[in-house]
Subunit: 386 residues, 2 copies
């Protein structure tokens, strides 16, 4: 059993949104297709992966480092002990050979997308959905058939007023979401307060609204905003400070009784361990949003979950960034708390499948083998063009 | 005044060395040439930069993100207020536009190499060595004409025994270095002890030997080694634990009275701030080795030095990783504590110039404008092939 080819490509996302820090009009995503020599129904089985969103396609890193290492590796160095499937953990070691410690960014995205494609392939070889593989290996077969999702939107873009924001949010609610997330910090505190209140008219109460500052504030600003946000009792207050300002976050946690959330810009287990050690977060209420696709894949994410358990954090506190099917399967199979969703924001790279929609805020998991990219026709079209 | 072109290329280093974690046989470096429309002696002035060593060439990131942003920028957005030179701080903002916070690695190398080339160009436009520009802007013109350097070597490679190690170290001493660094952790503690003692026979006493574990040890192992190393009173004990294990480092600092050193695998001011906040380092004895070329360039390094001053750390505690001319100029111009040197290790990417050799452990700064890559004929040959 071996890898026949690994193809990859950078694709523009062409999204018009912006958050408090960046605009996404020139953002790219990287796609990966791994073709195996396993023939099923007359065709070789392939695994599909992509780089989530928010970080640019790291195609040079894949092309020059990770892919050549995998293609040069001996067959046994990529296979499980019994030789009947690929072993993503062994592949991970091959991909990271001769990489120095530290500096976890970009290469974590390259490895993450390839790791996603490998797990898709592994599940297809066993002819099961990925969540079933994960549940069988790590949870005695227990699957969460329904996965909590929330709609992330409420971005700023030129000319977008309160009415347009409400229309966007109403669309999320109409399509089956119960909780939503909107950006803050790209406007004045007064203006953002009005945005939150406008959205609360639709969701019924502010406890169904999360707000996201994308790491824009200094610790002092973040505390000022925390004080202003506290009375709303929001679902959570996300990335109040720079993702690496652990001490600043701890200061916010000290005065903010509600839930905080962060982690989408931490790309390794060891960075996340620093967040847990130094960030002052509270395991009874706060949320961790590390995105497996951006942070060295599911192999590293499993290590992160183990590290979190060692520090007394339940899997249910994890709700990954990214809104992709990979995390949906991880939620169903490993029992993490849910998944982000971007209805209509990142084009083909948002959403879970053509006919997969939430009901009362939960996604019913489909039975397709792998992670189910075949069930998303717009995304499949991009893969077919490769 | 404008940038006419920015060329770049990935070049194999083809070094046979290995440390405790990686081997360097497939390592690459990225080179950058920025051509301006400033004509001097009938030729356009150009700036040269490269990616230091230890991290792979991030050519995809330069080609797809940083270089297009610079080439698309308006003339004024790259120039100083008086329009008479380029402004690397403004160029930095252009390069980092629409980049999310966190994940500092790889892109920090891309920005760092371009930043090096920009500073080289800025200094050539003023027809001065870079250290003079820096001294004039930040230290009232005060230059350290002599810069402390130490020879980093003592790598492991197949078949290298104690005699070969001693021959290597004697070569360093003969060529004008007084202190040296050798790797540890790639062999047993007993074997490494013998290596240290063999080298001490040559340097006269172990206070002239630094040892480098390249982040290989767990905190427990690092402490065991610290206890074994303490009696030698070494120059410093470098990267005992993973560069991001701040709490583990603090545990080592608690029991190790000698100097510790780390920072070469931290690539941003905010990562370094976490080291200072959480790493337990002592500003009266420990060393910080952040490499400006790997960590978003001199623009970010100046921010790092400011942050360090705010935390009570003198510039002299900084001795950058990398052994390149860029840091040599920064040491002379900004008064940091010295610079690493790799005599003969990284081919053309090691060393400071054809006729630039240390005397009694110090380099006498040359007068060539820019950072002086023209004075290194082997490196210039690589740039000329671009």
């Amino acid at each position: 059993m071996k890898i026949v080819s690994i193809k990859h490509k950078s694709v523009p996302i062409q999204s018009k949104i912006r958050n408090a820090v960046v605009d996404f009009s020139e953002m790219t995503a990287g796609i990966v297709v791994i073709e195996s020599d396993v023939i099923r129904n007359g065709k070789p089985l392939v695994g599909y992966g992509f780089t989530s969103n928010g970080r640019y396609a790291p195609c040079g890193i894949m092309a020059e480092r990770m892919i050549p290492r995998l293609l040069k590796a001996s067959e046994s160095s990529l296979l499980s002990e019994d030789g009947r499937n690929f072993d993503p953990f062994k592949a991970w070691e091959v991909m990271m050979r001769n990489e120095k410690p530290g500096g976890h960014g970009e290469r974590s995205v390259a490895v993450g997308a390839i790791d996603m494609a490998l797990w898709d392939l592994v599940a297809k070889i066993e002819d099961k959905p990925l969540y079933q593989i994960l549940a069988d290996r790590y949870r005695g077969g227990e699957v969460n058939r329904r996965v909590y999702v929330y709609a992330a939107g409420g971005y700023y873009y030129p000319g977008k007023d309160l009415e347009m924001l409400k229309k966007e949010i109403q669309g999320f609610l109409d399509s089956g979401y119960e909780s939503v997330k909107i950006k803050i910090g790209g406007a004045s505190l007064d203006e953002d307060r009005k945005r939150i209140e406008a959205v609360a008219e639709l969701t019924g109460f502010p406890g169904r609204i999360a707000v996201d500052a994308n790491g824009k504030f200094t610790a002092e600003e973040a505390i000022k905003w925390a004080e202003a946000l506290a009375p709303y009792k929001l679902k959570w207050y996300e990335e109040p400070v720079d993702p690496l300002d652990y001490a600043g976050l701890a200061n916010v946690a000290e005065i903010y009784e509600g839930s905080l959330a962060t982690g989408e810009n931490l790309f390794s287990t060891i960075d996340t361990r620093n967040l847990i050690r130094h960030g002052g977060l509270r395991s009874d209420r706060d949320y961790l949003q590390m995105d497996p696709a951006l942070s060295y894949g599911l192999v590293e994410y499993i290590r992160t979950l183990e590290m979190l358990s060692d520090h007394g954090w339940s899997h249910v506190r994890c709700i990954p960034h990214g809104g992709h099917q990979f995390s949906l399967h991880i939620a169903a199979g490993l029992g993490i708390g849910g998944n982000e969703s971007y209805p209509g924001v990142f084009g083909a790279f948002g959403g879970f499948g053509d006919n997969i929609h939430p009901q009362a805020g939960y996604i019913e998991m489909p039975d397709a083998p792998g992670i189910g990219i075949e069930m998303k026709s717009d995304l499949m079209q991009i893969f077919k063009n490769l």
